[in-house]
């Protein structure tokens, strides 16, 4: 299976990459989302600009309460990073669940979120944990919250010619976060993925963020479920209220297929909200 013809060049800096990208060009880092789409002719760029060897896009740093991950950092690097594991376990968990080891060795976080596959894991963790996506274009740079970045099915806020330079997250070493999913058998794509990020004040939940993916066309931030958790001791009643609110939060965004229809996924989102909270608290 061959992709359509295109020109290829490798960039050695963000500036040269931005300068090189044409009207119908795509940046390629690992290519593990882009190439499969190109082989199926779902994506037909006439030019690829390889950004995988730009050092500025590859680092993972944690300073001043801010975790920063280069757009071209691989899932394997993120999953294995002590800095990510400490600052945002949910993201480390999600990146460690992408594809398989060979895919994680080459697939990058920037490429993953630019592709915005609803069944992928990292977007859900990024939305729950309040990530910010840093984007550069020829006209300058901008930042957008993960929540606003994911627009619809395979659709993001990223404009033609723009490059994801990094993803930053508030260091949540003082909160509890987790990402869990109901995986498809075999492919292990998320039928439902739920990420939670909780801040506890003693036994009381002081702050909560919840996001759902897999069941939905994009990673969805779930304010209703979060509100039901805040102020509670995460008791059964609060969890049930949160699960009920969750189905409203995701109602407009549900997706499904023959094997796992929308109603099933919606019900499972509630189940996995509880499991995510349990994982975060454990």
């Amino acid at each position: 299976m061959w992709p359509q013809q295109f020109d290829y060049q490798r960039a050695d800096s963000v500036e040269s990459a931005l300068a090189a990208i044409g009207d119908n060009g795509k940046f390629i880092a690992g290519g593990h989302s882009l190439l499969p789409a190109m082989k199926l002719r779902l994506s037909t760029p006439d030019q690829l600009v390889d950004i995988s060897r730009i050092d500025a896009l590859r680092g993972i740093t944690n300073g001043n309460g801010n975790l920063s991950i280069g757009g071209a950092a691989t899932h394997a690097e993120i999953a294995a990073s002590a800095a990510v594991g400490a600052a945002c376990p949910a993201l480390a968990q999600a990146c460690g669940m992408v594809g398989d080891q060979a895919v994680r060795n080459f697939g990058t976080l920037g490429g993953n979120i630019a592709h915005a596959d609803p069944a992928s894991d990292p977007p859900t963790a990024l939305v729950a944990c309040g990530a910010t996506i840093h984007i550069q274009g020829v006209d300058g740079s901008r930042s957008v919250s993960a929540q606003d970045f994911f627009v619809d099915l395979f659709e993001t806020d990223l404009q033609d010619g723009e490059l994801i330079t990094s993803i930053s997250l508030p260091d949540c070493s003082d909160c509890q976060c987790a990402y869990v999913k109901l995986p498809h058998p075999a492919s292990r794509y998320a039928i439902v993925g739920v990420a939670v990020c909780l801040k506890m004040d003693g036994d009381t939940c002081a702050q909560a963020d919840v996001a759902v993916g897999g069941a939905t066309v994009k990673a969805v931030k779930c304010a209703g479920a979060a509100a039901a958790l805040v102020g509670s001791s995460l008791d059964d009643a609060a969890l049930s209220a949160a699960a009920a609110a969750l189905s409203d939060d995701i109602g407009d965004w549900l997706t499904g297929d023959v094997a796992y229809p929308e109603a099933y996924r919606s019900a499972m989102a509630g189940v996995f909200l509880k499991r995510a909270i349990s994982a975060a608290s454990g």
Partner: protein
């Protein structure tokens, strides 16, 4: 010569092809190229059912680099099919046989383009204009049986390509004698073989002016027959060679690229290659039959079966392939491995505009046993009897008369197999008979565990009057002693290790060390027909053929012939087809028997079913190569696990919606049960070589119903529709008020 000290029968001889496979040297069809080869691509039907009015190839042929586009007008005899020649090689106008201008499904071929490169051939295909006149289509087997349904084939007015009956005993008396009657409806859907090597092949003219096809298949001589029939050539003008084959499982029993490759190579007199990708492989070869079974069974309060009524409807898809045989086997096995006097069965194989259904490991028995063993488990539950006890009460045994009114061939071991499965798993024998020990309850309250049992039998070799045969040739070289043995055989090593086993059997039959045996295999130019690598028949049939050839060769050796050469055609006892009214038949000459016990864990919140452990008791008659045999059991179980729990081919209006391994999901190393226990039993088959029976399909058969029984034991709900996806399990659980969060 029997197996004795020093014999290699039963030894885990390392497979002869392992070296090339671990080093990457082994070449599969797609790995072989010939200097100057052309490339072929196929134009498939773009309609589920339509008349092809015209095929315009002008633009394609005008494309630089295109050598030739072939259409229906180029096929000498435009028909093929393994059992019934009901499919055109290339659908289109101009034929002298009615109906060859009709496409009946999306896998029909309309034209093939041959070009200097694969890319040009692909471009040429896009330039071929096919003009269709749409015809009404039908995608449901039961709808296709209605008088109002469109007729798919000119000579099959009711779309029923096969129809069988069994009428035995007195049904009214059977129902009167019943204290309990259970009814069920069991449904299965398509399964994709998903062998790892997608179809590929090379056609060329060999040094003896034979059109030669190098391809992966299951029966060289059947491929050869279908090619020479369509090309209207004498048999000797066609040669078929199998190099390494990347899995088959029944999926390579019918034609894929063989005939069109031969056609192009023969007409162009140049080498032609084709390579399918995964999407093409899934879209364009047949699948396991979707079968619906309605069953009503009665039993006495003591658990003795009194009456059985079943209706079996199989979706054959657009062409017969092996549907009449597969549904014949479902007809035979839908009553399970049990004796009952009053029995009434109706079975249908029905044409639809879906992808054709055909051979797949188990050949109709997995679908039939889902029903039969589902019924048996329901009866056990209704009577509060142990599932093993009720089986042993009703099991066929030596001398039992089958549903078709004739005795099972000698060597019936079903009761012993059931008992061994129970004893090696979780049953204990006490005062009250066999008793299943319940599993330890998991600590997680969302999880429930259960254990289940199922068993069955399957034929070894071709059934229902098919002229079964197998050829082997042996050449003994040396002077004072046999220094070298050359074994000629056409049997396909599809990955199961057949070639190693053939050589083991030759070594033993001749009383020579294994190392002295060489094999010349899988080439119609060097062997007679050994039949297919299917129906769990190859070891059984080949063993008998090899023993025959060995005996003749040794006689010549003793008569001082050097080299001593002999060949032998083995014919097993004859079988007969079903009587159309009563079903009376002697359907098979040998059987293999199997039972499986499983433990599952059900997540009652999500409906996920995890298979924790499988105990498989399989009567193989005689072990030839233990390592390979256990490998077959383990592989069959995982394929059956995929079938039972996750594999879900989705087709809408005849078109497959998930033709990739990213969307059609088969088990990975993370899905499979961590524990599989193979209980290998050796009750000899009286006519099997060294007592061996066939075994490759048997471990597939009872797994799905055993899992269904275990889910019931864990949760109290029955799942009767395969695959048992989490969504279906949750729906059943919630309907029973279980697991609501």
């Amino acid at each position: 010569m029997s197996a004795e000290a020093g014999s290699v029968i039963g030894e885990s001889i390392k497979r002869i092809d392992a070296r090339g496979k671990v080093t990457g040297e082994t070449r599969y069809p797609g790995d072989i190229d010939i200097e100057g080869q052309l490339w072929m691509r196929i134009k498939f039907s773009e309609r589920a059912h339509a008349r092809v009015v015209a095929v315009d190839v002008a633009a394609a042929e005008a494309l630089p680099g295109v050598v030739r586009v072939f259409t229906s007008l180029d096929v000498p005899v435009n028909e093929y099919g393994l059992v019934i020649k009901d499919q055109p090689v290339l659908c289109g106008p101009g034929g002298d046989k009615a109906g060859t201008d009709v496409v009946r499904c999306y896998m029909d071929m309309v034209a093939v383009a041959v070009a200097e490169t694969d890319t040009i051939a692909k471009q040429a295909i896009a330039l071929i204009q096919v003009h269709y006149e749409d015809l009404p289509a039908v995608f449901d087997a039961e709808e296709a049986m209605l008088a109002s349904a469109p007729q798919l084939h000119p000579d099959c007015a009711d779309n029923q390509v096969a129809r069988y009956r069994i009428r035995r005993g007195d049904m009214a008396a059977g129902w009167r004698a019943a204290d309990v009657v259970v009814e069920g409806m069991y449904e299965t859907t398509w399964q994709e073989h998903a062998y790892l090597q997608p179809e590929a092949g090379l056609g060329y003219i060999d040094e003896a002016n034979r059109v030669t096809v190098v391809v992966a298949g299951q029966w060289t001589h059947e491929d050869q027959e279908q090619i020479y029939h369509a090309l209207d050539l004498p048999p000797g003008q066609v040669r078929v060679i199998y190099p390494a084959i990347g899995g088959a499982f029944g999926g390579r029993e019918d034609m894929s690229v063989q005939i069109v490759l031969a056609l192009a190579a023969w007409k162009l007199r140049r080498p032609v290659k084709i390579q399918w990708n995964r999407e093409e492989s899934i879209r364009y070869h047949h699948k396991r039959h979707p079968i619906k079974v309605r069953a009503k069974w009665g039993a006495t309060g003591e658990g003795l079966l009194t009456a059985m009524e079943c209706e079996v409807i199989g979706d054959a898809g657009a062409y017969n392939y092996t549907s009449n045989k597969v549904l014949g086997n479902a007809h035979l096995t839908v009553s399970g491995a049990y004796e009952v006097e009053n029995i009434h069965i109706d079975t249908y194989a029905v044409y639809t505009n879906n992808i054709p259904s055909g051979a797949f490991r188990g050949f109709g028995a997995p679908q039939a046993l889902l029903a039969a063993e589902g019924q048996m488990n329901r009866l056990a539950a209704a009577l509060n009897m142990d599932p093993l006890e009720i089986r042993l009460k009703n099991s066929i045994r030596e001398g039992s008369i089958g549903s078709v009114g004739t005795p099972f061939p000698p060597g019936v071991s079903m009761p012993q197999v059931f008992a061994a499965c129970g004893a090696e798993s979780w049953w204990r024998q006490g005062e009250a008979g066999w008793q299943l020990q319940a599993p330890v309850a998991p600590s997680d309250s969302s999880k429930r565990r259960g254990r289940g049992l199922a068993g069955g039998f399957k034929n070894v070799g071709f059934s229902f009057g098919f002229p079964e045969h197998c050829w082997a040739g042996i050449e003994l070289q040396g002077s004072a002693e046999i220094e070298r043995v050359i074994l000629y055989h056409a049997g396909a090593d599809v990955g199961q290790g057949a070639h190693t086993v053939l050589m083991q059997m030759a070594a033993d039959a001749l009383g020579v060390p294994f190392e002295r045996v060489q094999l010349v295999a899988s080439d119609t130019a060097t062997s007679g027909s050994s039949g297919s690598a299917s129906a769990s028949r190859l070891s059984f049939m080949s063993g008998n053929a090899i023993r025959g050839a060995a005996e003749l060769a040794l006689r010549k050796w003793q008569d001082e012939e050097r080299p001593a050469k002999a060949d032998f055609m083995y014919h097993p006892p004859e079988t007969t087809p079903f009587d159309p009214q009563t079903g009376y038949a002697e359907p098979n000459f040998a059987y293999g028997y199997v039972a499986e016990a499983v433990e599952v864990e059900v997540d009652i919140e999500t409906g996920q079913v995890q298979l924790l452990e499988v105990v498989c008791a399989n009567d193989v008659g005689k072990v030839i190569n233990r390592q390979q045999l256990e490998g077959q059991i383990e592989g069959a179980i995982v394929q059956a696990q995929g079938y039972a729990l996750m594999e879900y081919l989705v087709s809408r209006d005849g078109r497959i919606l998930n033709p990739y391994l990213s969307t059609y999901l088969i088990p990975t190393s993370l899905d499979v049960p961590p524990r599989v226990k193979s209980v290998v039993l050796e009750y000899p088959d009286p006519i099997g070589p060294w007592g061996a029976r066939g075994m490759a399909e048997m471990p597939f058969l009872p797994l799905a119903p055993a899992i269904a029984a275990a889910i019931y034991a864990a949760t109290g709900v029955w799942i009767d529709s395969q695959p048992f996806t989490a969504q279906k399990v949750v729906a059943a659980l919630r309907a029973a008020g279980i697991g609501e969060v």
